[in-house]
Symmetry: C2
Subunit: 251 residues, 2 copies
DNA sequence: CCAAAAGTGTTTGAATTACACCCATGC
DNA sequence: GCATGGGTGTAATTCAAACACTTTTGG
């Protein structure tokens, strides 16, 4: 553990809530597949979700926003708290302590920590992945290619994905994964990637347009092979209306 | 603050996770209305939700089970973690400290606490409400008659009710509020009380019976005025099947 | 001109809603 | 015997699902 890191951890320890952390599952959508942002720890082959601690002077939500901003350079992120992980032994503390001994004092991992799980939906193109002091890479992984993760992060990821699927099934939150202008087939592929099922394009379009939450622009996407698809944009105001009407809609 | 209580709080402080608590919204159903179990603090007119701290040696879920058992004398309670409340200033620490100064050292309330919210569904008839050392009464309140509560407990209650309504809309969790044997009109009234809307009895019965999760017994409820209604019981096995089929059903 | 993806409507079946009268019981 | 709540079926409508061909573009 470098002196710098030791110092940082030590200074911070007074400012954070002890035994409480948060973990963020950051989802992106690219090449018709759902991606998740993972960190690779320095001098190792160990991966984990981005996470952090909650400062005494910030809310848990603010802490999540801060962590996300640090890792993605994005403000204004769609965030959902989905579960708090509170088992006594969330992972093999001994083993983790040894694996990370070159970076962090082992005793840190002897203490039990409760972690609040958030998931975030971001526009893949706008993200600049950024590792922190303890990690050397921050990169996107296809969901099917996620390796074994540190702590209980595979479990947290599973639960986040379930929560995302559930919520996407009746609220159009998936729009947060798309760029400002997108095509109907893009949107459909996004739904298909997350829900892991094929959807009929005619029925899909009908359903989406009926809600009125997207608006077709007088533009088509150029420079693509084959027929040029129309571009759409999200109608934030209409979306809020739909939500206030209690409007849930199923895909 | 009595010596006994001071000692208890002091002894416990080493065994619990600091700055982390949990709060339980315990719902019951009686007289066609949804009820919630509240505590009245000693020597005051202050009410709050039951809650507690998480011991170092127990999971957060176990802590919730323990709290529920202490307040209701029930094992095997239906419990759902629904949200973690993490604002920096969840309530007016000064004011609360003063209000409870006769029971607890004021400084306790100067520290910021993150609280994990659970809601429980219990069989009203089986509950023996039980105050703790700091409270003098533990009693059921109609939802409409809930007074101003301590801390941010009104907000927690609101959010629990929303979560309950949402979940009840597509999973038959409300059965946990009913006795082992119940009538179809009972069940309907329970849905009506929670969702706050009238339901057609023919359509309701059709929908419930179609799922197969309740079974009509060869008994009727005796001793009631008017026509004797049939009794039903919950089919736990069928319920599990339905859940595994991914079966959600709307009311 | 060919290959590949985009765009579009109608028909069918399933599910949901609306609706009203008779029955059994306790008083 | 009467007032009250319990029990039940059908018709109308709405909503969801199935399904295939034409159009446009780049290469």
């Amino acid at each position: 553990m470098s002196e710098k890191i030791r110092k940082t951890v030590h200074d911070d320890i007074l400012d954070i809530i002890p035994q409480l952390s948060l973990d963020c599952v950051i989802f992106g959508f690219h090449d018709s597949t759902l991606k998740v942002l993972l960190l690779k720890w320095k001098g190792s082959n160990i991966y984990s979700l981005p996470g952090g601690f909650v400062k005494q002077t910030e809310s848990v939500d603010q802490a999540a926003v801060r962590v996300l901003k640090e890792r993605t350079a994005l403000d204004e992120i769609f965030l959902r708290q989905f579960y708090t992980f509170g088992k006594v032994k969330r992972y093999d503390n001994e083993a983790v302590g040894q694996k990370l001994a070159h970076l962090i004092e082992e005793s840190v991992f002897h203490e039990r920590v409760v972690s609040i799980g958030y998931y975030a939906l971001v526009d893949y193109e706008k993200v600049f992945p950024n590792p922190d002091e303890l990690t050397e890479k921050c990169e996107w992984f296809d969901l099917e290619e996620v390796p074994e993760l540190l702590f209980d992060h595979n479990e947290i990821l599973d639960k986040a994905l379930k929560a995302l699927r559930f919520e996407l099934s009746f609220q159009p939150i998936g729009l947060n994964l798309l760029p400002d202008k997108f095509t109907m087939p893009d949107m459909q592929r996004m739904y298909e990637a997350i829900l892991a099922k094929k959807i009929d394009p005619r029925n899909f379009q009908k359903k989406i347009l009926k809600t009125g939450i997207v608006i077709r622009l007088n533009e088509v996407k150029k420079g693509v092979a084959h027929k040029s698809p129309y571009l759409y944009r999200f109608d934030q105001n209409r979306y809020k209306e739909v939500l206030e009407e209690g409007g849930l809609f199923f895909i």
